[in-house]
């Protein structure tokens, strides 16, 4: 049974000359109970795809059927209600309201549904117990470790009992133990019959997925089923085809990129928060440009 059906979905940003094509006629069908990993370089349209599936955004063209309902042209408030009832979002940087306690944050989606205070506190508390951070429920989000915070974020995504869990780089800000904690939790949720979509840069994490979708420049270039517990073959290839930059490259720094794109100006320096991630991205983009040339 198809839960998510995308047909010829395109997403354009900007106007006139500045138009960018974030998604280019994407077809994607996801059935209930799948655990889909979405991979691809930065700017390949992964997040746009997630936002469209999560009804945070509307496609410029194409059809989207969610649970056999046409949702591509919904009004914002209708979309918000479907988002509230059927979709749980997990975002890279946890995204808690800093002035509310963890428990209050987890209970928030229920508040928008109109659940009474005592009931939503109870439900949120149960959900926090399920993800294993119940002992932190009266802490503020800033007092949690990354892994704990992401677990709490998963609890918030789950509290409305959604059909689909969408996680946009859930492990992007976490160390390896935090990543494993979060992925195992997502895996548990999947085993209970939920549909989970997640975006990742880490090929190792395709181990948890039943299906891997590769994106590039707004299109799906490869789509494969994988066995649980195994790193997807193509993902492994992606892992090994990323050329490691040598120490010399590191020393040369920006001039390497200049060489990669001799006919273009040096790209403006990107402003990124996490330094480890930015270096990783830089390396990857450098390798891509090398490949392109």
């Amino acid at each position: 049974m198809a839960l998510i059906e995308l047909q010829d979905v395109s997403k354009l940003y900007g106007f006139g000359d500045a138009t960018t094509l974030a998604l280019d006629e994407v077809d994607l069908t996801i059935t209930k109970g799948e655990f889909v990993a979405v991979m691809g370089p930065s700017g390949s349209g992964k997040s746009t795809l997630m936002n469209l599936i999560g009804l945070l955004d509307r496609p410029s063209h194409g059809d989207y059927r969610l649970d056999n309902k046409a949702v591509a042209r919904l009004k914002t408030d209708q979309a918000a209600k479907i988002r509230r009832d059927t979709i749980g979002f997990i975002l890279q940087s946890f995204n808690f309201l800093p002035r509310l306690t963890v428990l209050e944050n987890v209970a928030l989606p229920l508040a928008y549904k109109g659940v009474s205070l005592s009931r939503r506190t109870k439900l949120a508390s149960q959900m926090l117990e399920r993800v294993g951070v119940q002992n932190r429920e009266y802490f503020f989000p800033s007092q949690l470790s990354g892994g704990q915070a992401q677990c709490a974020a998963i609890a918030r995504a789950l509290v409305n009992n959604p059909k689909i869990i969408i996680a946009d780089e859930p492990t992007g800000n976490l160390d390896s133990s935090g990543s494993r904690l979060v992925m195992e939790l997502l895996s548990d949720i999947h085993k209970l019959g939920n549909t989970v979509l997640f975006v990742t840069h880490n090929p190792e994490l395709t181990r948890f997925a039943t299906r891997v979708v590769y994106m590039h420049d707004g299109t799906i270039i490869h789509d494969e089923q994988t066995a649980l517990g195994q790193v997807a073959p193509k993902a492994r290839k992606v892992l090994y085809t990323i050329p490691a930059t040598s120490e010399e490259d590191d020393l040369e720094g920006v001039s390497v990129m200049m060489k990669a794109f001799p006919h273009k100006e040096a790209p403006p320096p990107k402003r990124k928060k996490a330094t480890d991630k930015s270096t990783r991205r830089k390396k990857r983009s450098v390798s891509r440009r090398k490949k392109a040339s």
């Binding site: 936002n51 999560g54 945070l56 955004d57 914002t76 408030d77 918000a80 209600k81 988002r83 509230r84 009832d85 979709i87 979002f89 975002l91 995204n95 808690f96 309201l97 002035r99 509310l100 209050e104 928030l108 989606p109 508040a111 928008y112 549904k113 109109g114 205070l117 918030r156 409305n160």
Partner: protein, 408 residues
């Protein structure tokens, strides 16, 4: 559902106490000033009203000057040279005419006698000496604390009745009955002391607490008939209508003065309309200014809320991502500014009560804060919050969730 919004709004107010306070400050000051100003005006009006009530609605005053009353357009004559309209002074003939007019049960002149009064403490400077008759206490509805008012038997004797302030200023004793003071070189024996007269700011009545009352006959003889009678008080008989008696008095006085006296004959209420009008005007003016400050307070709320919407873009993004509708976001922000301004209003009311207390303690004003004004001020402040909170709330509600999530 609404209480969830209330909670969200309250959480946000609670979370940013300092910012919330600055937001509320305009409303606090606005509400406090509106209530205080209206309270002061109301207080004064009540006192004037109380005085009229105290004197009795039907007390008639006769004065030698036409009061220019702006109330009736016909009698308003602002082009007159000042003083030109002033009639002949009240004299003995007028006094007799008034007291003998049909329907007047009691009447008393008030004649100012110049001259120094000397008591225990030397000269008494703040007071004044008034010649009058035995009807005065009844006309003023004022009882005596000690002794008695002089009767018609002692109209040719040097007796006096004192106001409280005069009594305290002239003598060391608390009850100086039988003591005497010097006036125009003659000894006057104190026969009675009035109870405290209620005084009213802006009232045209002289402060009788400072007055020394002596028989009118003695006053006239002391001043060799030069002392001016500045006012005659008269009370119509119970069965007579005040207006009928006033008409009769006018005719009688006109006869004395050969057809045209120009004396003003008014009942107690009319007497106070002029000061009442000025007061009304002042109250409205200041209340208007205070209302402007409320408006400014509202604009302040709007500005801070606008800034807060920009600051909390990320929060809006999160709330939308987890399923908040535009409406819910909008309600949250409107409720938040409503809460802010309502709290501001309540604090303003408290401040107004404090100001009221301070005014009562350190000035002669007695502001009257009515519950209607308090309720109105709270309602207006809530309304302002909702009204001025709408623009920022709409701004917040229609943010693109992705853009909002991305902003930090």
């Amino acid at each position: 559902m609404p209480h969830a919004h209330l909670r969200a709004g309250w959480d946000s107010v609670r979370g940013a106490k300092i910012r919330s306070f600055w937001t509320m400050l305009g409303i606090i000051i606005g509400v406090a000033s509106v209530i205080t100003v209206v309270g002061i005006g109301e207080g004064i009006k009540q006192e004037i009203g109380g005085q009229i009530h105290h004197l009795g609605q039907n007390l008639i005053t006769v004065r030698p000057a036409q009061l220019l009353n702006g109330n009736s357009a016909g009698s308003n004559s602002p082009d007159l040279i000042p003083g030109f309209s002033i009639s002949t002074p009240l004299g003995i003939k007028d006094i007799n005419a008034i007291s003998h007019t049909n329907g007047v049960t009691a009447s008393a002149p008030l004649t100012i006698v110049g001259g120094a009064v000397r008591g225990d403490h030397g000269m008494y400077r703040n007071g004044f000496v008034v010649g009058t008759t035995s009807d005065l206490p009844g006309l003023l509805n004022q009882s005596l604390q000690y002794g008695s008012f002089f009767s018609s038997d002692s109209y040719d004797m040097n007796v006096a009745v004192l106001g409280q302030n005069a009594s305290n200023a002239l003598f060391n004793e608390d009850v100086p009955l039988g003591r005497s003071f010097t006036f125009h070189g003659q000894q006057f024996v104190v026969e009675g002391i009035f109870n405290q007269f209620t005084t009213t700011p802006l009232s045209q009545q002289a402060n009788f607490n400072n007055a020394i009352f002596i028989p009118n006959q003695v006053a006239e003889s002391l001043s060799k008939n030069t002392a001016p009678t500045y006012e005659m008080l008269a009370r119509p008989a119970a069965h007579e209508k005040a207006s009928a008696v006033i008409a009769r008095l006018k005719t009688a006085l006109d006869q004395v003065h050969g057809g045209q006296s120009g004396l003003s004959v008014q009942s107690g209420n009319q007497d106070l309309t002029a000061s009442d009008q000025i007061l009304e005007l002042l109250t409205r003016l200041i209340a208007g200014v205070a209302a402007i400050s409320l408006l400014v307070g509202g604009i302040g709320i709007m500005n801070v809320m606008l800034v807060s919407v920009t600051e909390r873009m990320h929060e809006i993004g999160i709330r939308k991502a987890i399923g908040a509708t535009n409406r819910q976001i909008m309600s949250q922000f409107i409720i938040e500014s409503g809460i802010l301004s309502l709290i501001g209003g309540v604090l303003g009311i408290l401040l107004a009560f404090f100001a009221d207390f301070m005014l009562r303690t350190f000035s002669s004003l007695h502001p009257a804060i009515s519950w209607q004004v308090v309720v109105l001020a709270s309602a207006v402040s809530l309304l302002i919050g909702i009204l001025f909170g709408t623009v920022p709330a709409i701004k917040a509600a229609y943010k693109d969730p992705i853009e909002a999530l991305r902003s930090e």
